[in-house]
Symmetry: C2
Subunit: 448 residues, 2 copies
């Protein structure tokens, strides 16, 4: 039988255990799961029925689960990771990040930086990421090249940015929607930087433009106390109240961070169906604060996890982010029961899919859904013995426990190695671009 018959099983995972709905169901023994033409054909079917022509992958000793979903990053910033740390936000941005972006963040930078991050994410079991930056058609190209599913949100600011003059964002955004590759793995979107760097008119126009394209609108909301004060100073309202007043909140609006929100604002978020992305490690590293995530989840708000960009985290590791989310919630609520393992597993899979409006396609393993699955090696010392799979996934597992990664039915990581790109070549290119950045910023560059 030929490869292009859509219902021919091309890949069959066999054996081990399967966790089809992380945080909702418990893992069970696994027979066979097949994928073809980008979709899951059978999930945990009897393994006797393997079609002879399919590629059989032995998952003995492993757990098969849906790929993790990173709801927020700025992937291209891997090229600026570690360029400056341990600094107040204004010096970090003003002395390092903004100057470097103004000089270097062109289309090639976005393509290469996004590729580095996509490889890191793939190796760590992330099959879908939501990205916000500039020249986003290049980010989409990099995601396609590495083989990850992506929600690619073009940045919107009133300030001059690398890909648009002041006030020119709308042309840039339209151009992006036209130029964004029409690949099955790419979903275009918009990303308003924040209510303090986007005027009310810009926010409203971006919201309309996103709606016209059936796209999500992302926005950093109430990340810092300073931001809340600034928005209050400008508009006499908190960021959430301001967005509510502008009729922008709603099920396709994604509020990233939501650290400094009052109980009333949390109700507004809940009532409007607005989605929230929690980025605990970035919020800690930048000393922004701790979002009241356990409370938001308790009020029925759909919360997904995000790593934020590699320049403020500084890695794109959702296993670690799940752990940090739970630990941080326990600390600030003084309650060791807060944000338990199963809840954060949902925030990295099923609920994350809802945040991106893709719950009909990703976030769980079900026949007919898109074939985004990961295989985790359960035999490592830090996972031995194993009384509770959810506990181990959240409190003990590592990105490096991911053995295989499939996105859209295609193998991306096999036996812990990326197979879609030549990493040594990407690394050499990264070094050459980084040499320029280091020279211009007056920082060191290490590595061969």
């Amino acid at each position: 039988m030929s490869r292009d018959q859509p219902h021919q099983p091309e890949i069959a995972l066999v054996g081990g255990m399967i966790l089809t709905h992380p945080g909702v169901s418990e893992p069970v023994g696994h027979g066979m799961t097949t994928m073809a033409a980008g979709r899951l054909l059978q999930v945990n079917a009897p393994s006797q029925a393997i079609v002879p022509s399919s590629t059989v992958i032995d998952c003995t000793g492993c757990l098969i689960m849906p790929g993790l979903i990173n709801c927020h990053t700025h992937a291209a910033m891997s090229l600026l990771r570690g360029v400056a740390d341990d600094l107040p936000l204004d010096r970090w941005l003003g002395d390092y990040i903004f100057p470097a972006e103004a000089r270097h963040a062109g289309p090639d930078f976005v393509y290469l930086g996004t590729m580095i991050s996509a490889v890191e994410m793939a190796l760590g079991g992330i099959t879908t990421f939501a990205d916000g930056y500039f020249f986003m058609e290049k980010a989409a190209e990099a995601a396609i090249r590495v083989g990850l599913r992506s929600v690619i949100a073009q940045g919107v600011l009133d300030l001059p940015v690398p890909d648009a003059a002041p006030g020119e964002w709308k042309n840039r955004a339209r151009e992006f929607f036209d130029a964004c590759p029409g690949d099955a793995t790419v979903t275009p979107a918009l990303f308003c930087h924040s209510p303090y760097l986007c005027s009310p008119e810009t926010l409203r126009d971006a919201s309309r433009l996103a709606r016209d394209h059936g796209a999500s609108l992302f926005c950093h909301v109430a990340e810092t106390e300073r931001e809340v004060e600034d928005v209050r100073g400008l508009y006499g309202r908190t960021p959430v109240a301001h967005l509510h007043e502008l009729h922008i909140l709603g099920p396709s609006f994604v509020a990233v961070h939501a650290v400094h929100v009052s109980p009333e604002e949390m109700e507004t978020i809940a009532d409007s169906g607005t989605k929230v992305v929690h980025c605990p490690e970035s919020n800690m590293k930048l000393a922004s604060g701790a979002a009241a995530v356990a409370e938001l989840v308790g009020m029925g708000v759909t919360v997904g996890l995000g790593t934020d960009g590699p320049a403020s985290n500084n890695n794109l590791d959702l296993f670690e982010e799940m752990r940090s989310a739970s630990l941080l919630a326990k600390l600030v609520s003084r309650n060791p029961e807060a944000l338990d393992a199963r809840t954060v597993l949902r925030m990295a899979t099923g609920d994350a899919a809802k945040v991106l409006g893709m719950e009909d396609r990703i976030g769980s393993l079900e026949a007919g859904k898109l074939a985004d699955a990961i295989v985790i090696d359960l035999g490592r010392p830090h996972l031995t013995p194993m009384y509770d799979v959810a506990s181990h996934l959240v409190y003990a597992a590592r990105a490096s426990d991911v053995r295989d990664v499939f996105v859209n039915g295609r193998p991306v990581v096999v036996n812990g190695r990326i197979i879609t790109v030549d990493w040594d070549r990407v690394r050499a290119e990264a070094r050459s671009v980084a040499a320029d950045i280091a020279r211009n910023l007056g920082v060191n560059l290490y590595g061969a």
Copy 2:
């Protein structure tokens, strides 16, 4: 030349970069570092001088640095990892941990559980760990078997414990000092559980016994608010004031946690030369609180990092613990400059060595010091590009980036694999012991 000539270089690391004093010096290009008879012979000598008979290990693209030092764990508890989580401390202990320990925590449990943890630690670049539990001569045996350096502290409590009847701790401790293997890699010590589970007399006697053996005395101090209240109720003083009054504080006393200490108590700790171990992830997971580590370090207190036991963390990953320490300090002090990358690197190496009273032997790479070194692969995507090595080690690196580990001049991990024990055999044994534990506690057991 024969192997037993003590000054014959047996292993020569060649190429790459070397960071001899993490957090103090910066990395430089590396020529050759040699080890023999357990010690470093030459550190960053010219590589032309390789002695023909030595084993040459190419470190191109890697960083050589001192092994990490885990200042606090209860290694044997790997056999109880994940048995219960997301619970209040009293239910976690009363319903799961104490019953399981009472029934299972015999000498074989301690040997096997410590071995599992030692393998995990070795793979993650930890070359020395300080352990506190019961039947500690068995923990020492396991550490020797895996090839890690250890500070092995026999537990002291007034309650009945797995290895001693009430009031019998002193005989047990003396027996331990006699039975503890006299290996060059093992340093015996004592571990008083806490000022609320050890009477003033027990604390004083243990302190005296430790001093008689030239050993450190460890103690959990001010881990929870509840503990502070309990000690106040019993003795009318805070835990630190109580220990000070008993003349127990001092340079060979190690206060583990020190979460709930007032500014005055911090001064007492500083003035007495008392060492502190910070376990941020355990403190967060159990909702105990956040130690004021940046302040302690600022007052000149020597602070080391610890993972705490695998049942309350739930992994033994010092890379992650460094990151969590820095992020937590930034969050609670609302200062992104708090506990910078270089400070936490010291807390996991040179300062950790001081906490254990071993700074003349470990914690940095210097000719004549013990040969405990690790080799980190810098070529991974999450470390690319690299503008600042300290930043990457703390904010981006993973335990799985450790390629090779040498302890006392002996290779323990080579190319990411443990070479001193047969892991599959250890794992099979773990499963058999865990099956009993799971049955008795009424919990599940997963894995092949």
